[in-house]
Structure formats: structure tokens, C-alpha cells
Subunit: 463 residues, 2 copies
Amino acid sequence: MPTPLDQLNANRDAAVDRLTALLRIPSVSTDPAYASDVNAAADWVADHLRASGLDARIMPTAGHPVVYAATTDDQVTNPDAPRLLFYGHYDVQPPDPIDKWTTPPFEPTVRDGSLYARGASDDKGQIMCFLEALRAYHDAAPGSASKLPCHVTVLIEGEEECGSVNLPAFIEQYEDLLRADVAVVSDTSMWDAHTPAITYALRGLLYFDIQLHGPSRDLHSGVYGGTIPNPATILTQVLGNLFDENHRVTIPGYYDHVQPLTDDERQLWQRLAFNERNYLNAIGLAQGFGETGYTTLERRWSRPACDINGLYGGYGGEGAKTVIPSFAGAKVSFRLAADQQPDHIADAFNQWLNDQPTHGLTWKITEHGRAYPAAVPTDSPWIAAASKAIEHAAGRPPVLVREGATIPVIGDFKRLLDLDSLLIGFGLNGDNIHSPDEHLGLDRFHLGCQTHAALLQQIANTP
Amino acid sequence: MPTPLDQLNANRDAAVDRLTALLRIPSVSTDPAYASDVNAAADWVADHLRASGLDARIMPTAGHPVVYAATTDDQVTNPDAPRLLFYGHYDVQPPDPIDKWTTPPFEPTVRDGSLYARGASDDKGQIMCFLEALRAYHDAAPGSASKLPCHVTVLIEGEEECGSVNLPAFIEQYEDLLRADVAVVSDTSMWDAHTPAITYALRGLLYFDIQLHGPSRDLHSGVYGGTIPNPATILTQVLGNLFDENHRVTIPGYYDHVQPLTDDERQLWQRLAFNERNYLNAIGLAQGFGETGYTTLERRWSRPACDINGLYGGYGGEGAKTVIPSFAGAKVSFRLAADQQPDHIADAFNQWLNDQPTHGLTWKITEHGRAYPAAVPTDSPWIAAASKAIEHAAGRPPVLVREGATIPVIGDFKRLLDLDSLLIGFGLNGDNIHSPDEHLGLDRFHLGCQTHAALLQQIANTP
């Protein structure tokens, strides 16, 4: 009887074909036009779990559904083994700008050993690593001999790319269905193409749409220019106040609770020999920029950030249109460092906006998501088990890293289920996630499948 | 023999019928679908001039043609009389949204004493005032007795509503055909329904598209946030520096050449009793805003303005997308006050942009139009002549006003032909120009015809 790892090695192409099928479904969660595709992706994932012998369910939320499955005692070699909760998401970012893709975003194409498609790396390619590991256990053993070495609960949501707004309520509602000993999340990156990593801390996220409203209609800028508050002009003045000369956010209290960087971490990170020039070259920049007093890696991993993600209002087409817009807006988001409180920062930002001079213009503020930052202890037995699994599959041990991005569920698992998470991912910074030509190296996809198969065994061995 | 004013009084209905015929032609200049209609309108105007005894020509440009006519010495009572150059445009704005019109835009209809149609006020109704005045001189005197009191050159273009892009080249090419002593432009408004006005100054216009470019693609704001210069963030910081706390533009030298407002003008404008509350109420605002030290009317008529006409870049759709945009842009325009030099301001703005800290991001700056401000002396004999003509026709003297908007040809006449312009118009702010249900009061149309007839006589008498 082949081992699950043998099974994975012998069926690489079939696994890639299944991933390709999932990538063809344009499950863009933020745009209602794709709602039926989002449902189709959930169905596809549930069907894959059922083909692996699990009793998968599509569970509704106020938004897009969750795909859920959990082992029963008779599906596990040792019913007393620990329970691993696997989390991922089947939804994807919008593909815009579509004309910048070399091949269409929902027609997966292999080039130079990588699979190109929206979601290839974030996160369909990564959830399929875990789902293929489960399948390998099922396919390696015939019929009733098919058992997993530890308990597994699978939770795959469809709203990660639009802020996971309904997931906290889902977790609270189904707390009993989600009890586990450790969570495993595969939505992060390797340190580099040869060095796997375990991520032990993530930043949180707050996202706002802020609009400044003024005249009841667009106005002729010749007739009215200079006499009334122009919403686009005043918006830039307000946003221009958001940073001081050290590129620190000026919102009162913004840095109050930020977990300070320790000397130990600073030294560990220096040893990682982060290649800043490569990091910048890869995105066409010659120089970095950020908060004074920190290196690029420190800013990314341990400091909060604030970004304008979009600007809109008035005329943005070709040529000239001499209007004063009736309103202007911006998408403004905050990446929260460990121990920053989303509620506190959201209140402080709202207060700050309302304290800005707007000369009679009025705010329309909409919040799109509130995610807690997360940091787990680096000396836990789960991290030891994951390290062993990675070393087994990759032939070398992982490095311990943080990430600047956000996986809202990590904070929710901790807060609502008191559950620590292992972040084991196979992406790379060059995967163009959220951008045109997103892709995943097929060698990393295979490494991910093998690692998760080994991880199930290591979790089973954890006391 | 009837006077030209008698002739106009006796034939009001025929003049309205002719205006109606011209308004039936959908001469929308910006839309190629209407090209043959634009030509038909030019032909119609040329035919009308010929019926008035003038040798009209259709003169091609790189775009839509110009209708041109000029008196010869034998057509003028006194061949040594001054020459008046009349300017207007026979093209119209698109009629969209068509479903908002009470009656179809190209089926002129009289309601409550006003004629409703696209172009009724802007500018067919206004050019017909002048063309009917010419016709009245012709029809009042039989055969060879038909002479005009002064020389007249007629220049009616077909591209005003799409930026008059080919007109400056036309003026340069036909400089000799366009020599005149004074220009008369009928494309402005009365002060109110009972008070005619002469507009003696307009603001100029500079329009820029400025883009700040950074990373080679949109980036994930979690992975990169806080470590690189965000084009949208830096753009707002730059634009936030554009005004000081008195809402004065901070570009060095920006106010250097602005013609100061005189005490006389301030007092004259106070006597106009501008109703600021009505002005703001009509656009849904409770308060005005602008440069410290000036009233709303002073800001609008005599001070330069700078407006952001549009903001774009990154994600502007519904919901959230956590990108750092690869670039962000703004449309930025300047309304130039009298004596401000467009070349000087354009250079100063470019310099100012390049002096702003952009942290390695680069500018892409595109200019879309450069129009000179215009101001003619209020003590000129031409204004005196026009005032007399208006008083004769309206029974009350005009007020002297400025306008905040721009008519590029006024600056071109001054720059290329050293020609001052009289702006005598019969529109009202409530005429819905560029909007559905555009209209012109027939009493104002008749007043315009009479005024121009009287003006020709007054110009003849000007030493």
C-alpha cells in the first residue's frame, strides 16, 4: 500500500488538473456580479472533500457560504489524537486591470513551471495543498482502511477578500463545531524559493471608504471656482494631514498599544539577511519609504501602516472636463501591529476625520472590515511539529517569520475559540497576488501537498 | 423708410421662425454622428448672411468649418467707419440626457414666452440676435440703398462646444481677413432678467492631468504597506500643500501679476447687491469658501482659482480592495485672473510639482489647454458705445460685470489680433445651458436683436 506521500508523488498531474478546474471559477467575492460563481466554487470544494471521504457541508452565512467538514472518530486511526482545524478561502480578488494579464485571469495557464490565474497563490492553490493531502490519505488506502492520523476540521470561507465580515458571527454561532487543538492556515509565504517558513505574527486590518460631500451636483469650475469648498480639494487637504514629517500617522493615540519590537527579534531578523534591493527591484522601485527609525523588514512585520488604496471623484477620463465634483472619496486602510485594538483605532480615525476642517462639507464614512492583529508563541509544541513536517517534506527546516498582511480569522480564532494558529504557506512575494499575472510555482504546490500530508502525521504525534 | 429697429419690431415672428429653423438642426460638434448636421447648420448660417446682402463663405478648418463674411466699402454708409468683428458659434452641446427634456431638444417649442431647444441660449439664440440685426438693416432699405452704418466682419465657428481647438490656427492663418477695431461676442448673460450687462473681464484657464507613478504594478497593501511610497498617499500630501491656511495657492509667484481689485470695482459690485444666499442655495450649500479677504463675488470675478476637477487611482469601486496603486492622478485646473500669464503659471506649477517631496515617485504631467484671461478697459469708447446701444434698446443702462468662466477666443483675439472684445449677452443663469430644457426668453431674444442693431449705429459714431 503506498504512503500518502507516494500517492502525491505519483499523481502530481491529477492534482494540478483539479487545481486548474477550481481556478476556472471566477469566485470574486466583493462584486455581486460574481455571486453565482462564488457559490459554484463552494460547491466544487465541498465535492472535492466528499471525494476524499469527508462529509462536507455548505453552511450559509449572511454573505457567501462556508464549506465545512469534520472527521468522526471512525475516520481517524487514533480517536484520541489531537484535532487540527484547517482554514482557507475559496474566494479571490477582482482581476482588474484585466488588460494587464498575459493570459486571461480565469483561464489557468502553465508557463515556466508556474500556474497563472487569479487565485493561483491566494488562496486556491494553497487550500488545494491541504485538500490534496487529505485526498492522498483517502486514495492511498482502499475503502474502509482509509483513515487519517489525526482529527481534522475543515473551514473554508468565501469572504476573505472582502474582509471576512460574516466569519466572526459564524465562529460564534458554531463554536461547538469548531473546537480544535490547533489551527492551520495556509495563506502565507515561504521566506524564499528554497526556504520554507512558519509565520507567527500577522498585522490586523481596518478598511474605510470615506467620502466628502458638498454641492448637490457637479458644478462648472469657471462659474463657481474659488467661491465654494471643492470636495476633491478639501479631501486632499484632510488626507495630506494624515502623516507627519517622519511618516508617522497623526491620529491621536494611534501608536499607544503597538507591541514594541524586542532586541531578540531585531537580531533574529538581521540574521535572515533580508535583501531589500531585490524586494524593491521586483516592484520597480529604487528606494523604500516609511516610518523613521525602522528598517524595511521591521516596518513590514512589526509596525502599523496606513495606506490610501484608492482615490475617486469628479472627472478621471481622458482630456479635460472643468467640473467641481459634488463629492470625492478615498479608500483608506490601516494595517494594525500586534496589540493594536481595531475598535480603538476605528474610533480614533472617525474622531480625527470629524475634527478636520471641511468648511461645511459632510462626511459619509463606511467601514469595510475590522480584523485583529495576531501573534502566537514561538516555543509551542505545535510549531515544533510543523517544523518537523516541513523538514521532512522540504529537506530543510523552516525559518520563523512574521508577515505584514492580515488573515482576519487568526485573530478571531484566538479571541473567540482561544485557538492558536500555525501559518504554513507556500506563496512567494513575487506571486503577484492581488495583481495581474498572479501565479504559483508547481514545485511549491507539490511541496505544500507533501508538507500538509506530513503535518497530519506530526500533529498526531504531538502530546 | 422704416428704421432697422422699426423693421425688427414689425417682424418679430419671422425672426423667431428663422431661429426655430436653425434650432431644428442638431449641430452637435463633439459627436461625429452629427457631422452632416454640423455642416447643414454652417450652410444655414451662410445662407442667412447672404439673404442679408453679405458675401458669406464656408471656410474649412482641421475640424468643423467657420462661417465668414465681411463688408466691403460699398456696403457701408461711411467707408471710414470702424470695423466690428462679430464672434459666435453655431454648434451645440449634446442633448443628453434626452429623457429629461419636456419637449424634444431639436423640436423647438414655445412655452410661457420662452423658446425651448438645445442651443436656444447657447449660442444659436445669441448669434441670431446679431444676424437678425444685420438682416434688419438689409430689409429696411430697398436694393442698393441697403447699407450698414459700420464695417462688420462675421466669424461663426462650429467647435466652441468641443474646445475651439482649431480656432487659434484659423485666426493666425487668416489674420488679414480678421483685422478689426473691436470684437463683439454674444455668449454671456444678463445680470438678471431685467438688467442687461456688459462683461468686461473673463478668467483664463490652465488644465493639467498630473499622475504620480511608483511601483510597476498594484501591490498588496499588507505585504508592502508602510515600506514603500504609496502614490495615492503621496499625491494627497502634495495636493494638500497646494493651499495655505487662507486658502491661497502656495505656488511661488502665483499671485505676482494678478490685477488688483480696485476700490471703485469693489464699490460698484457692492451696489449690484449679489444675492449670495440664492447663489449657494441653488447648489445645495449653506456656506461659501475661498481666499481670505474677498467676498464671494470678488473671488468669482477677480481672483484666480485652483480646483481639483478629478481624483483617480487604485480601487474606487464598491467595497474593499487592499491595493497600493501603482499610480494615482488628479485633474488640476487654474482659473487665471486678469493679467496672470498662462505660460508663467504653467511653468511655476510644473516647478512646484517637481520641488515637492515624492520619495522616489515620478511625475507624468499632461497639459490640456491654456487660455488667456481677458479684461478690457471699462473707460473705452467701445464700452461707452455699447452702453448707449443697450440703454437705447432696453430703456435702462447696463451694469458692468465680470465672469469667472473662460471664453478662449477672447484671449486669442487679444493675443493674436491685438483686439479688445465687448461681451454683450442675453442669456440668464437659469437658461439650463448644457442641460435639459435649455431655453431663451423671447423678450430677451428681441432685446438682443434691437441692441445689436443699435450697437452698429453706435459703433459707427465712435471716434
